[in-house]
Structures are given as structure tokens and as C-alpha cells.
Point group: C2
């Protein structure tokens, strides 16, 4: 019996690797001779770099970069053991938490730090770069990121625009002649779990601007600037991202990456699954165990459990999700391929008690689930 264990972390209690260890312990008690293959997973957010490093035998690389308001910041990204693949989290150098100590600067904040991490990865040989976006402090359409990769954003006088989203209102031309060949040759994928377009009432400025400190007038200003940005991108690269679902992610960063670098946006968990080699791990598996802190049937899209279930369904492998909490109805998840979901709760328990006992409870539950699955 081959069992693949591919869970997300249980946020607030167990890392994905710890979840794997607990499930392994229970599965081993259930079927001592089983072949257990652990593939810790993530959804493009917290824990993604660790999963990638664990799966691909790589290392974290720490880079001196620029934070959203132009200050120096040390930020890590993950490079695979063979140096060919990298995972960059936008939040590492361009996240909102990095600027909580200064007054918000919704008009001027940028994403250059993330571009500096990508540039470093490409310089070291990465040709496949997964950019996990979300949680940005900026609404610059990814202009800062692209600038760090050699793209120049110019006004009508031919002068370079300053950082930040507001300046894009004066964008007249884009010069990408300075982009290194290595960057042009690289494949970029963008992990993005929102469907907002770049502009308009559901766009980056309108929906995410306020949480970055933009008042209504600034939201209007940023939306107009992003519209100008998208117009010029369409003229220059022939790609319209104004209304592209997901283009509005991370202050429009997704839109910029798609238009300029041909980046492919997709769900975070799905891209992480590819990056850590889950598809290959499933070869010959009889059972897949996934899980996360909370399986919610009504917000299943983009989660690890959904992505794992979809991959397993394609191969007709049963998939069981083990979770701190299970919130039904689960019909949609069953439709995606999830066989069954169980909570680690063994009776009445407080949240704190569940968290404190998460590892042994999970091991016990995994034992039960594997015993039942193994009857076939």
C-alpha cells in the first residue's frame, strides 16, 4: 500500500512537515508495511518556501532588497537544489506588514523588492520562477518589480517615472530593452487566488486600496493610473489586462507580470503542487491524505485540499482530508475529487485544547482513516 501524505499546515498549531510526521505515525500504526511518501504542501502563502526547499533539496537565499517605501530590507526566496527553479513570495520584500511602522503611502508604495529577489534568482540560474503574490502594500501594477528587472517606465518627456502607482498616470512609454536575456528566457508563473480585474469597481485600487491606506480620492487616482498603465501595456505588448480575472492581485502586480513577462497566473496550491512534484509522487499511490487547519466546503477554491483532490481524482486515487475543523456542506469538495473529510476533534474540546493536542489527535485520526481505507 502506497500512501501519499500532502497536507497544508494547520495554521497556528502544526507546520505542513509536522502534519506529515503525525500522519505518518498514525498510518504506520494502521499498516506497518505501507510505503509512506510525504509531500508537505502550501497554498502560495505562509510555508510555501519551506515546502519547496524540502521537496526540491534547495536552500533559502537571503537578499538585501528594498521594502515598499524604499528602505533596505533583508528578504529570502527559495532556490531549488539544481538552481533551475525559484519561488519568490511577494510578501517577503513587498508585504504590507513591512511598513506598519510608517504612515501608509498608498500612492507611492512599490514592489521593487520583489523584483530584486527575482533578479537575484535569475542571475543564479533560475529559469522557472514561481511568484506567490498577495498581501502587498502597494498598488503599482507591479511596475516596481518590473523596473528591478530592467524595464523602464517613461513619461512624455522621456524621463523615468518615480516609484508608486500614482505616477503611472503620467506613463507614456515602456522601454524593455534593458531586460536581460536570462529574464526573457525564464518562465514565470504567478500564484494568485483572487479573481479581481486590474481596474474598475472590482479592481485592485477599489477593492484592496483602502486596506493599504487609500482614501476614496486616492482610490480614484490609483484606478485612473492603473487604467493608463493597462492602456500603455496593451499598446506596447498587445495584451489587455484591464479586465483579466486575477490581474488585480497584489495591487495589480499580476497584471503587469502577465503583460510584460508573459507570466501564467493560476491557483497557488495548484502551482505549489507542481513545484514540489506532487503529480509524480502520486504514481502508483493507493491513498492520498491531505489536510489543513480548517476544511471549509464553501471556500474550497484555491486551497491545498482542493488542488490535491483534483490531482488524485485524475488518477482515481481516494483522497482523505484530515483537519482541525470540517465545515460542511462538502458537496463541492466531493465534486472536486475529495473522498472524505474528518476532524481531529475526538469529542467536546475547546479550540485551545484541540491545538495543544493536534499532533497526537491527528496521528490517531490518520490511523483510523488508513485502517478504513485499507479494508479494500
Amino acid at each position: 500500500m502506497k500512501i501519499v501524505i500532502a497536507p497544508d499546515s494547520f495554521k497556528g498549531s502544526l507546520s505542513a512537515a509536522q502534519v506529515c510526521a503525525a500522519v505518518e505515525a498514525g498510518a504506520r500504526r494502521a499498516v506497518p508495511g505501507a510505503e509512506l511518501v510525504s509531500v508537505p504542501m502550501a497554498d502560495g502563502g505562509e510555508g510555501t518556501l519551506d515546502c519547496f526547499v524540502a521537496a526540491r533539496g534547495g536552500d533559502l537565499v537571503e537578499v538585501a532588497a528594498t521594502d515598499p517605501v524604499g528602505r533596505p530590507v533583508k528578504a529570502p526566496y527559495a532556490l531549488s537544489g539544481d538552481g533551475r527553479s525559484a519561488v519568490v513570495e511577494l510578501a517577503a520584500a513587498s508585504g504590507l506588514p513591512l511598513v506598519e511602522d510608517v504612515p501608509p503611502d498608498p500612492l507611492g508604495a512599490g514592489t521593487s523588492g520583489t523584483g530584486e529577489l527575482i533578479a537575484d534568482a535569475v542571475r543564479r540560474g533560475a529559469r522557472d520562477v514561481l511568484v506567490c503574490i498577495g498581501g502587498s502594500a502597494s498598488t503599482d501594477g507591479g511596475a516596481g518589480l518590473l523596473r528591478a528587472l530592467g524595464v523602464r517606465f517613461l513619461d512624455a518627456s522621456g524621463a523615468a517615472l518615480p516609484p508608486g502607482g500614482a505616477a503611472l498616470a503620467r506613463l507614456d512609454a515602456i522601454d524593455d530593452s534593458g531586460v536581460p536575456d536570462a529574464v526573457r528566457a525564464a518562465r514565470f508563473r504567478v500564484a494568485c487566488d483572487v479573481t479581481n480585474p486590474l481596474v474598475g469597481p472590482d479592481g485592485a485600487a477599489a477593492v484592496f486600496g483602502p486596506q493599504k491606506g487609500a482614501d476614496p480620492a486616492q482610490v480614484r487616482e490609483l484606478d485612473a493610473a492603473l487604467t493608463r498603465f493597462a492602456d500603455v501595456l496593451a499598446d506596447r505588448f498587445g495584451v489587455r489586462v484591464h479586465d483579466l480575472p486575477g490581474a488585480g492581485a497584489a495591487g495589480g502586480t499580476c497584471g503587469g507580470l502577465v503583460a510584460v513577462l508573459g507570466a501564467e497566473p493560476s491557483g497557488g496550491a495548484q502551482l505549489v503542487a507542481e513545484a514540489v512534484g506532487l503529480r509524480e509522487a502520486l504514481d502508483g499511490a493507493d491513498l492520498v491524505i491531505t489536510g489543513e487547519g480548517r476544511v471549509d466546503g464553501q471556500s474550497a477554491a484555491g486551497k491545498v485540499v482542493s488542488a490535491v483532490a483534483a490531482l488524485a481524482r485524475d488518477r482515481a486515487i481516494p483522497v482523505v482530508a484530515l483537519a482541525g475543523g470540517v465545515v460542511g456542506p462538502l458537496d463541492e469538495l466531493h465534486g472536486l475529487g475529495l473522498t472524505a473529510a474528518f476532524s481531529i476533534a475526538d469529542g467536546p474540546r475547546t479550540l485551545d485544547a484541540l491545538k495543544a493536542e493536534a499532533a497526537p489527535l491527528l496521528a490517531g485520526l490518520a490511523e483510523q482513516a488508513v485502517r478504513l481505507a485499507a479494508t479494500r
Copy 2:
């Protein structure tokens, strides 16, 4: 797919029949075409009469009987549809709760009411009588019960002894010539889940006497009386019940039934399983779902889950227990044949919240368990 549903009640929230209904709902969602066979179970205690009536198409029969201290009481027993089998609960006419309104009478309390129910059942044609004992108010070795069936307990002068355990100290002879042939022809089984002998430091008086109001001197008096009782039983019937495991159940009632009527003691859940026809229901089953309010791996003996697991194991059918709470380790239950156990808890919940939502939570859990079992 044939699924047999054979749970105990979830005490304090769902009857066994309600548990069956919830599991059926979930199982039907999981495998719409499945053949579902519900056999509500009990362990010889609360709910046993209802299960028997449901399974055997019978009725409850209410009888005017005598309570432990000689007062009239109306008490029910269960008679099968064909009138050949009956289930009598000792607690119905001879239980401790019936005399909570009067001062305890540990020396004088008796079991005659239970004998009156049995006599009624035999009069109506019952030839197979399951007597579920436990919870008695008396320590009379079942003398009152036997007296109601025609047995006479005599002192040295040939006079009939008065009711109660203490009087057995003066027992000199037993006259069973007045026992009707129908009683002699009947098969008696005793559902009993303790292993205490009739007499001695682990016997009926020493262990259960105090909770019936006996002080230390009365415990010694009752133990001596039961010893005398057992001596005479051994002389008269050739059966020594002094040290028989279980003979001490219900103030020694089990001992008296074994010696005088050749009753066969066994675990309550096991006898109920036989009485409701669970063995036959398992024919051709692919999965058995059992359950109870709380599955405790360390006090598994005599419980419904253990009895159902043992029957299913004999036929290599997977058995899943669904419960309000699951308390490990479950190794012993797994050894008995239980495939897996899951709690209905879907995350952090208070006991009250679990009870209030027990039915829908149970349906949801059953759906998940059946989905997983059905992958084979």
C-alpha cells in the same frame, strides 16, 4: 453495497433508532443505491426493550407488580410478536430508583417484581426469556424473583422466609415443586456486565451493598446470608455459585437464576445482538456501522460496539464506530474487530453544542465514512 447500521443510543442525545435514522441519511447521500439495514442496539440497559420490540415486531406489556419494598408498581417488559420470546429488565420493577422516596432497606428489599414480570411472560407463552439485570435495590440473591416463579424458601421449622436478603441467613431448605412446567421448560439468559462473585470481599454485599444503603455491619450480615443461600443452593441443585464470576450481579440475582433455573449469564450487548437478530442481518453485508455516545477503548468490554465488532469480525466485514466522543487508545477494540472509530465532533465544540447538533453531525460523519469505505 449492503450496509448494516447497529448502534447503541447516544445517551443524553439520541435514541438508537434516532442514531440509525441519522446514519441512514448520511449513508444514502454517500451511496444512493445502497441497501441499508438498521438494527437499533442496546447493551441490556436503557433502551433494550425498545430495540427488542422494534426488531421482533412485538409490544411492551405493562404488569401490576411489586416494587423492592413491597409496594405496587406498574412495570413493562417486552414480548416478541410471536409471543415466544421476552425481555425483562430487572430495573423496571426492582430498580433502586423506585425506592428513592423511602429510607433504604438493604436487608429487606427484594426482587419479587421482576419475578412477577417473568411469570406473566411465561404465562403468555414466552419460552425464551432474556433477563437484563443491574441497578437493583436489593441483595436477596434473586430469592424474591424465584419466589414469584413458585420457589419456596424455608427455615428449619418449614416456615417460608420473609422477603429480603437478610432472612436467607435462616434458609434451611428450598422447595421448587411449585414451579410451573412452563417455567421449567423455558430458556433463561441473564445479561450481566459485572464479574463479581456472589460472596466474599468482591461479592454482591461487599461491593454493591453500600450503594443500596447497607452499613458495614449490614454488609457482613448480607454476605453471611448469601453464603448460607449459596450453600443450600449447592446442596439442592448441585451448582456452586459462591465464586462464579458475575453471580454477584444485581444483589446476587444472577447467582440464584443460574443455580435454580439453569440461566446462562453473558454480556448484555452480546445477548441483545442475538435477541434482535443481528447475526442474521449481517448476511451479505459489506460494511457495518455501529456507535455509541462515547467509544472508550479502555472500557470496551460488554459494550455494543465490542459486541457488534466481534460478530462482524467473524465474517470479515469492516466495522466503523461513530460516536460523540472517542477515547483512545483503541488497540483493544481493533483487536476485537473494530476497523475504525470517528467522533461526530467537527472541530472545537462544547458538549452541549455537540449534543444539540448530534443528528446532523452524525449524518455528515456517516456520509464521509461510507464514502471512504465505498472506495474499495
